[in-house]
Symmetry: C2
Subunit: 104 residues, 2 copies
């Protein structure tokens, strides 16, 4: 789903990843769990996700503080650690300010 976000400014975290071939089922369960958990965080605005050769997940947030809290969430930190150790061959996280948007 395309996320319904408020008028800018708001914030985006672009998470781009290349998976290893390890542990597909556990990864999927954790990815779904993290998406559900993100939705419960203060300042959460929406999420968009797609995967083909690489995966791109963009989450949207009200403020830099909301992003920081999510990054430091204890369950999320466990997922990040497993991601680095097992699931991702490479990843990049980019924290952005959304300055304008348009669409149809």
């Amino acid at each position: 789903m395309i996320a319904s976000t408020p008028a800018p400014p708001y914030y985006a975290v672009i998470f781009t990843s290349l998976r290893t071939e390890l542990d597909g089922d556990a990864y999927s369960i954790m990815a779904d769990a993290m998406e559900e958990l993100a939705k419960q965080q203060p300042g959460y605005l929406g999420i968009e996700s797609a995967r083909s050769e690489i995966g791109i997940t963009v989450s949207y947030w009200e403020s830099p503080e909301a992003i920081k809290s999510w990054k430091e969430n204890v369950q999320h930190r466990v997922a990040q650690k497993l991601g680095k150790e097992k699931w991702y061959a490479a990843f990049k996280t980019r924290v952005c300010k959304v300055e304008r948007d348009y669409g149809m």
Copy 2:
């Protein structure tokens, strides 16, 4: 491929789309052509793309001016028009300033 981008700040355009079922071959040809054309634009830094239920393409740019020039590129405008008329059931474009990044 995960894009190799310079140290922030730089700019990102997050383009999220939901396809119609129309015209798959022409769409793919145009999408590839637009990616090649983007790479030739001044200020282009990189591109990342994935599609499953929705498509997410993130292009990276040196400046807001580079983004504006790309948006107004004549061949790109033809593609945008066809996209609105035929290929996309919905889309959202978000223009962002990348404030920090990290990865492995």
